[in-house]
């Protein structure tokens, strides 16, 4: 029994050191440990933030050897234990006699770092905790009505009722998605009179809202656009663009876009930078309602951008997440996309129905490639399917079906156009009211950019210290870059917001 106790004690002490997720040999001679352990198990050494490495070697061969030695000793001494092969001792031991078979108490995931918290979520979390009755959440990226409530479009409710009454089956969609949806989506973006649309020299596949569509496109370009690995984003751009393209295996570059001095477009800077982009690189443009700044080029400026992009032979990737939602007019919001195509630029395009149809959680979106001809479109389509299949096989039906019914049913389409204009008008109205309230407060600053900008977001021009004060003193929550979501502004709180902004900027 004495031997068993001693063996048990040794086993425990070995297990304990592995619980600490730090190999006992590491602290003594790190270099020696690293060389021995990385030869045996490549995962053993990982970087920690702030520099340095962590040894996490539950499988250190030296301890494994020690364990083996112990188990051999035990086997010799405890002749009644009939061990057989590892994992099948014929007598259930009170402790593991075959120590090599025991699990390390540390985890496979000991070295996994905590992912950084999402900055926008942080804003919402802080907002939720705030008990001030006047609090405002201007970080939210979803439309709110004038009562600050989520808004389900009436045309959406009607489409849903139609769907529920039809009692359709739930069979898999094709990989490329619901055909009625993708066709209608292409027509919405390109325009029914578009030559590209009518000739069929395009392919549109259903994507998981804007993000999923962007990702399909990014993966497609990574695989088939061999001329360049570089994607040029406007400075700034939507925060998720960078990781999407990076995860797809592309590299990120930037061109000047927003001028913080004027809170508007740095058109000269943009043209300068774009004219220097290496030929055949990829350039991403926001079709309308630039996120996060709300700053869009005017039509004359778009014409010049198209010319320089054509001259540089760049591959144009349009991200259109707000068609209809920006100006209230779907054709106006798609003007840039259509102009580029008319100029002979074969763009790729991602669309989202999250905002303009309020279908956020239903994930309705589409990715389009304008091709030379219909035959090329078929080849591209076949490759898009190959990319989609291992990601999620085929897309979710519900949101696409709602969108399809709306777009393809004349009365519902009309109703939708009115409702999307209603949302856009409310936003525009809030912009106007915010500016007039600021004037009423006596602010001497130029707030014209608030009404010049368009879409859900507004780059106020507020500095981080001013944002800090808005949060702390007025319970008005926004991101540090001074971006506010106009959707969070209502006729009930616009006065308060103007007052607060004036207080921190006077």
């Amino acid at each position: 029994m004495l031997w068993e106790q001693q063996v048990s004690f040794m086993h425990e002490s070995l297990s304990r050191s592995s619980e600490e997720a730090q190999c006992s040999c590491f602290t003594q001679t790190p270099a020696w440990h690293r060389s021995c352990c990385s030869a045996w198990a490549p995962r053993n050494v990982a970087a920690v933030p702030g520099g340095g490495t962590r040894g996490l070697c539950p499988f250190c061969p030296y301890r494994a050897a020690a364990r083996l030695l112990v188990s051999l000793v035990v086997r010799v001494l405890l002749s009644r234990a009939d061990l057989g092969s590892c994992g099948a001792p014929r007598r259930a031991p009170s402790f593991s006699l075959t120590l090599r078979c025991s699990f390390p108490s540390s985890s496979w995931w000991s070295h996994v770092e905590m992912g950084p918290p999402d900055p926008i979520l942080g804003v919402t979390e802080a907002f939720k905790r705030d008990t001030n009755s006047k609090k405002m959440n201007l970080g939210v990226g979803a439309y709110r009505d004038d009562n600050g409530k989520p808004y389900v479009l009436s045309c959406v409710r009607k489409a849903e009722a139609m769907i529920a009454s039809k009692k359709m089956d739930k069979e898999y969609l094709p990989i490329g998605g619901l055909a009625d949806f993708t066709r209608a989506s292409a027509e919405l973006a390109l325009g029914e009179n578009s030559e590209a649309f009518k000739s069929g020299r395009y392919v549109t596949v259903q994507g998981i809202s804007g993000t999923g569509s962007l990702r399909i496109g990014a993966n497609f370009l990574q695989r088939f656009f061999k001329s360049s690995r570089d994607v040029y984003l406007p400075k700034p751009s939507w925060g998720n663009h960078t990781p999407i393209f990076r995860d797809a295996g592309l590299q990120l570059q930037a061109y000047r876009y927003y001028d913080p001095k004027t809170c508007s477009l740095d058109f000269t800077g943009a043209m300068e930078d774009i004219s220097k982009i290496p030929e055949k690189s990829i350039i991403l443009l926001h079709a309308c309602a630039h996120n996060p700044t709300g700053v869009d080029p005017r039509q004359e400026q778009w014409k010049e951008l198209a010319a320089v992009v054509k001259k540089r032979n760049l591959l144009v990737y349009f991200d259109m997440a707000y068609q209809g939602f920006a100006s209230g007019d779907i054709n106006r919001d798609a003007w840039a996309v259509r102009h580029f195509i008319e100029q002979g630029i074969n763009i790729v395009l991602s669309q989202s129905y999250a905002k303009n149809m309020g279908l956020y959680g239903e994930r309705a979106g589409a990715f389009t490639v304008i091709c030379s001809d219909a035959e090329e479109a078929k080849r591209v389509e076949s490759q898009l399917k190959i990319l989609i299949r291992p990601m999620y096989s085929n897309p979710p039906l519900n949101g696409a079906r709602i969108a399809s019914i709306i777009l393809n049913t004349p009365e519902l389409r009309k109703e939708w156009l009115v409702e999307v204009k209603g949302m856009a008008d409310r936003i525009i109205g809030m912009r106007t009211q915010l500016v007039s309230n600021l004037k009423k407060e006596g602010s001497s600053h130029n707030w014209q950019h608030i009404t010049d900008q368009i879409g859900m977001f507004c780059f106020t021009g507020l500095k981080p210290e001013q944002v800090e004060r808005l949060i702390k003193e007025f319970s008005i929550y926004m991101t540090k870059d001074g971006r506010i979501s106009m959707a969070g502004v209502t006729s009930g709180n616009v006065g308060y917001l103007a007052h607060a902004i004036h207080q921190v900027t006077k």
Binding site: S107, K170, A248
Partner: protein, 410 residues
Amino acid sequence: MAAAASIFAAVPRAPPVAVFKLTADFREDADSRKVNLGVGAYRTDEGLPWVLPVVRKVEQMIAGDGKLNHEYLPILGLPEFRANASRIALGDDSPAIKENRIGSVQSLGGTGALRIGAEFLRRWYNGTNNTATPVYVSSPTWEGLVSGGGAHIRTYHYWDAAKRGLDLQGLLDDMEKAPEFSIFILHACAHNPTGTDPTPDQWKQIAAVMKRRFLFPFFDSAYQGFASGSLDKDAWAVRYFVSEGFELFCAQSFSKNFGLYNERVGNLTVVGKDADNVQRVLSQMEKIVRTTWSNPPSQGARIVATTLTSPQLFAEWKDNVKTMADRVLLMRSELRSRLESLGTPGTWNHITDQIGMFSFTGLNPKQVEYMIKEKHIYLMASGRINMCGLTTKNLDYVAKSIHEAVTKIQ
């Protein structure tokens, strides 16, 4: 008007995905006797898709609920869905749940769950970005598993064509030979495409080897409840591994057992050593989800969550699932008995020994071609048939056709 040569001029046409092409060919076939034994979706005895009655009920509830909106779900998904989906897999009394060391990621079907898990492993398993770690899939396996490519996909022996059953020794040998820390994709039940599952004893042997050699278990659970008719029975293997102390992933699909194919409802269950590890893992999975689909679709998750959290609806669902499983079992026994009474050469007990939607008939590619071209019966080149494509009306025709194929073609 268009620029010079298109940048996509050199994009080759990709071959169509085989199983979907099969269905497309079936649709175009004008022969009245045609039977589709290809794609894996449940069919009633009338050969029609079946929306589960409980699903219809819940859909109407959701459609009529004016309080519901379409706001974004959290990145990891609907909380009530995630927790309950994992509970279904691991069991109400799971020690891992009690010890708060599980995590869940709502995903786009089983495929989406596999994808998130695979991408996480690529980034964080066995070091960081250690893409050299081999991933083992069974030979054969479901085509979607390997369509994503990846240089280090290897196979482990699984199907013994000669004895038409599990090649356990080959499987265990492959596990012995695999480098330590290799990842093994295991079908939790109703193996696709063979329908052949290890017995509990065989699972125990598999687990022992995996434990000893530090192999990572990644379960693919697409048929829980659908295989035997019992949720618990079909989850036995996953739960056994958890009870043996493994850290593991389990990709769950609710496409078949809820009939929610096109709503893309899936869940990746993560079992870890402790809550802290699981939290860090989830935080990194969030980053992967964010650049893949941002947040998952809400409709299907709502249906499943509503069903699983209501005792009455849950009971109804289990009943619906048993209906499907029972019909499949009936078709299996009916097909086997017909082949045996026809005196079709060979043994046919594998048809009832196998479980789930699919059966590896043992037909060779030439015989399969005969079935498709001459008899208008569509099945995969591997000889895989979807039992759900069988009905009381077409059983005789299919049995006779198999008989012909086996006797005429070698």
